[in-house]
């Protein structure tokens, strides 16, 4: 079919050099792929391969829709998260978990240890963060960690506390003993 042949050459050109060949304005579909692939090519070869892989997947079973420009972030997020998960395995984290977190200190070999209860989890792709609270030396401390950061080496869930909220901001107004963990 001439349509699939043209689309295949289009993709090969993108995979090679990232140079976008201007397609005739007859079909809006390759143009959106143009924008998709050229935007990816600016970021690097891996991203161009993603666009190629996605488009190729869709080609085989009779393509229904192309990846829109707004879906690139979702594709990239999934890729970054997969790369981060290869290095470390993250358990299922929820508010109310009492966790132990090990983080890399710059220029030092030993890992620092942080304990506390998760009071909030903000999900936004690769910048998913958890907010951990603990009383340290009589002072309450809340630290927000991006969990897919390469500086965080290990997260371990020690206990689960039963909570009926998604965000436990009420803990800072409660007695200190509710935020104290040995």
């Amino acid at each position: 079919m001439s349509v699939s042949h043209r689309r295949a050459t289009h993709l090969i050109a993108h995979a090679d050099a990232g140079a976008a060949e201007p397609e005739p304005a007859a079909e809006p579909a390759p143009e959106s792929e143009d924008a998709v692939a050229s935007a990816d090519a600016e970021e690097g070869e891996a991203e161009a391969a993603v666009a190629v892989a996605v488009a190729e997947e869709e080609e085989e079973p009779a393509p229904k829709r192309k990846p829109k420009f707004g879906e690139i972030i979702a594709i990239l997020n999934k890729q970054f998260i997969e790369e981060a998960e290869k290095v470390k395995v993250l358990p299922d984290l929820r508010p109310g978990d009492i966790i132990e977190l090990r983080m890399q200190r710059p220029n030092k070999r030993r890992l620092s240890l942080f304990k506390g209860i998760i009071i909030a989890k903000h999900k936004s792709g690769v910048h998913t963060t958890i907010r951990v609270r603990r009383i340290i030396a009589g002072v309450g401390v809340e630290i927000t960690f991006p969990i897919y950061s390469p500086r965080i080496k290990e997260i371990k869930v020690i206990r689960r506390k039963k909570v009926r909220r998604a965000k436990l901001y009420y803990l800072k107004h409660k007695l200190p003993r509710f935020s104290t963990f040995k």
């Binding site: 620092s112 910048h127 030396a137 927000t144």
Partner: protein, 110 residues
């Protein structure tokens, strides 16, 4: 009470963790070496306002705290209470960090 942030640009309004401030004592316990309405220098060690680091880590304490220092940066007192970030060591406040009962090593200042 804070009067001035030392070393701040003209448009910097607020001090953050690690900044040295000029302050005046509003309330003091009796029989202490420092008295009310004395002008002193202090370094801020904990703030209720979040401190954002470049790698995405945000730290927030439950109280505001400062340590009174002299002109050279050595603490005037002999004890320090509460958690102190070890990053103050890089700003030449090593004595304060060594007096702290517990230190947190999380982030790096710019």
């Amino acid at each position: 009470m804070c009067i001035r942030v030392i070393g701040a640009a003209g448009n910097q309004r607020y001090a953050r963790i690690g900044d040295v401030i000029v302050a005046v004592i509003k309330d003091a316990l009796p029989q202490m070496p420092l008295e009310r309405s004395e002008v002193i220098r202090a370094v801020i060690v904990r703030t209720c306002k979040e401190f954002k680091c470049e790698d995405g880590i945000i730290i927030r304490y439950d109280d505001n705290a400062a340590v009174i220092i002299d002109q050279k940066g050595n603490p005037k007192g002999t004890r320090v209470f509460g958690a102190i970030a070890e990053e103050l060591r890089e700003l030449n406040f090593t004595k304060i960090v060594s007096l702290a009962p517990e230190t947190l090593f999380i982030f790096s200042f710019i």
